[in-house]
């Protein structure tokens, strides 16, 4: 019996602001404990929150990017629970009337586009951090993060399986970074996901009982956690058991999910409108101004790359995976004057491999677009063969300078002088009568060996197309 794995994702994206959601304390990461926690953040009596305009603009920007409804009037609510890193005893959030309602995000799975519906996105504040180790039986509290603005984005259960869930999380991550509302730094907790996972038999119309998995702080962990959880639920049902609705924690060390709390212990947050904050009203003018400031969005740019540069959907998706990558690609095409396909192949091949190897972002590439353009220009004009170009690229990556300087210094210029190649070919033919005979007897392998001899004689610098052409011509006689 086939099973279908159904996933919905909740994401907390930390909004890129200088100050907190409701206070003027700094949000800079990594400060000494409690040095960025002001009277509002630590909830001293008598303080009042004042909403940060940038958080509202970021939420609208996101809403427009996913074609959602932007609520002209939304309500801040209190979500009540007790925990020492939440000094007020409640979190300011939005509940019944969030600022962003609906919307959709397009993802690409195995070369196929799928639209994922979003339920909502709402503004809220983060809690502080609890440090449980090393304080002789006490817990240490750092409130620097308390009050940091978050956008919580909730998807519909439209995702099928771990692979789609990860594709969605990646697309959402790319989008929030693309439109400049989040730095996307997962190590620092700027982009955190929880997954609601359930299983049902294929063709079943009703959803199964779901479990919420927390602590998915990388895409790899998300994929493994969902796969584990789906296996667990399927095994449970096939053994005649029932899935209990609960919150589970993913443990990457043991690659398993563990129960955190069941439905009975679930929190009762007693939401109510925050009397300290008035309804949040956004004007048409604000929305239109933000709409005008939006950059070309990922899906539009992907489509344009495919159309304008003749890239396949896969290629377009790769080079437009992030705004930085897409900017790199366009700068490369423009500066090199080379075929767009050649540019895409290099960005996806040599460049991507080198970036991966050194674990660096494309925006910080050791070979910037204009330098790579210099190299691709030399392939386009026939100075370099593909093989030599790779050698030059490695040298550029190692910091040896621009493509032309390396070509000159290493004497890598491709030999395209037909007279010179012809002379070499004649020498090789004279020295290898056996292969010539074999080739004429119909052995194609002998031909490759002859090409190899010519290339070897020129240390790989002969233009391979010309070598092949001249060899065929000479052997045809």
């Amino acid at each position: 019996m086939a099973w279908e794995v159904v996933v919905g994702i909740e994401t907390h994206a930390q909004l890129l602001t200088r100050s907190k959601a409701f206070s003027g304390a700094s949000t800079a990461f990594g400060a000494a404990p409690n040095t960025q926690a002001c009277a509002v953040d630590i909830a001293l009596p008598g303080v009042l929150p004042v909403a940060n305009r940038a958080t509202v603009e970021h939420a609208i920007r996101f809403g427009l990017a996913i074609r959602a409804e932007i609520r002209r009037r939304s309500i801040y609510a209190r979500k009540n629970y007790f925990y020492p890193d939440l000094p007020k005893g409640y979190q300011i959030s939005q509940y019944e009337q969030p600022i962003v309602q609906g919307g959709e995000l397009k993802i690409i799975v195995e070369g196929r586009e799928k639209s994922i519906r979003l339920t909502r996105a709402h503004l809220e504040e983060d809690a502080g951090k609890s440090l449980h180790e090393d304080f002789h039986g006490l817990t240490g509290i750092d409130l620097n993060r308390a009050g940091t603005p978050l956008l919580e984005v909730v998807s519909e259960p439209d995702l099928r399986g771990a692979q789609e869930a990860v594709a969605y999380a990646r697309a959402l991550h790319a989008l929030v970074v693309w439109i400049g509302i989040c730095d996307g730094n997962m190590q620092e907790g700027s982009f955190r996901c929880d997954a609601n996972v359930s299983v049902r038999r294929a063709g079943d119309a009703n959803l199964g009982t779901r479990c919420e998995i927390k602590n998915l702080n990388s895409f790899r962990f998300m994929e493994r956690a969902i796969e584990y959880e789906a296996r667990r639920q399927i095994a449970l049902i096939e053994d005649g058991g029932r899935v209990e609705q609960e919150t589970r924690l993913y443990d990457p060390e043991r690659d398993e999910t563990r129960s955190m709390r069941t439905k009975e212990e679930a929190h009762d947050y007693r939401y109510f409108p925050d009397p300290d904050l008035l309804p949040l009203v956004v004007s048409e003018e604000d929305i239109e101004a933000i709409r005008r400031s939006l950059p070309e969005l990922p899906a539009a740019r992907r489509d344009r790359f495919a159309r304008e540069y003749g890239l396949t959907p896969h290629e377009a998706g790769f080079v437009a995976a992030s705004r930085a990558a897409a900017d790199y690609f366009e700068a490369l095409v423009k500066a090199s004057g080379a075929e767009a396909r050649l540019c895409a192949n290099w960005q996806m091949g040599e460049l991507a491999a080198a970036l991966n190897q050194d674990e660096i972002e494309i925006s910080k590439s050791k070979v910037p677009a204009k330098d790579l353009a210099g190299l691709l220009g030399r392939i386009a004009d026939g100075t370099l063969s593909g093989k030599l170009a790779k050698e030059v690229f490695d040298a550029m990556w190692a910091g040896e300078g621009a493509a032309d300087a390396i070509i000159e210094k290493r004497g890598l210029r491709q030999i395209s002088d037909a007279g010179a190649i012809e002379k070499l070919v004649e020498e090789v033919l004279a020295a290898n009568p056996k292969q010539v005979e074999d080739y004429r007897a119909g052995k194609e392998k002998a031909f490759n060996s002859l090409v190899g001899q010519v290339m070897k004689a020129t240390k790989g610098k002969a233009n391979p197309t010309q070598v092949t052409e001249i060899l065929r011509r000479k052997l045809a006689r």
């Binding site: 909403a51 305009r53 958080t55 449980h132 006490l138 240490g140």
Partner: protein, 99 residues
């Protein structure tokens, strides 16, 4: 609408309020009096009235004011922590809590 004794215990736990057994009946009675008042308000016909989220919400012109995104606060950790019961390496110390 009225509450039962076990609901009062649950509310007390959610609000982190300790209620002694001998108090529970008094608390139950006072809470039920509050609920009685709510019942009275609920009896009013409010069909056609837009629910309000704030006492000042009735006026369309009253809305949340927004402040510019600028850092205006300075570090006052020393002052704030001077009244904290326990502090170490800049952290507030509290009894161990682990969920």
């Amino acid at each position: 609408m009225s509450l039962a004794a076990d609901q009062v215990r649950r509310l007390a736990r959610l609000a982190r309020i300790a209620i002694r057994p001998e108090e529970s009946e008094t608390v139950l009675a006072s809470l039920n009096r509050v609920l009685g008042l709510i019942d009275q308000m609920r009896a009013v016909d409010t069909s056609g009235v837009e629910p309000m989220a704030h006492a000042l919400d009735a006026k369309a012109s009253v809305a949340q004011r927004l402040r510019p995104d600028a850092v205006t606060e300075t570090d006052q950790r020393e002052l704030f922590q001077s009244v904290a019961p326990a502090v170490e390496r800049g952290l507030y110390l509290v009894p161990k809590v682990i969920e």
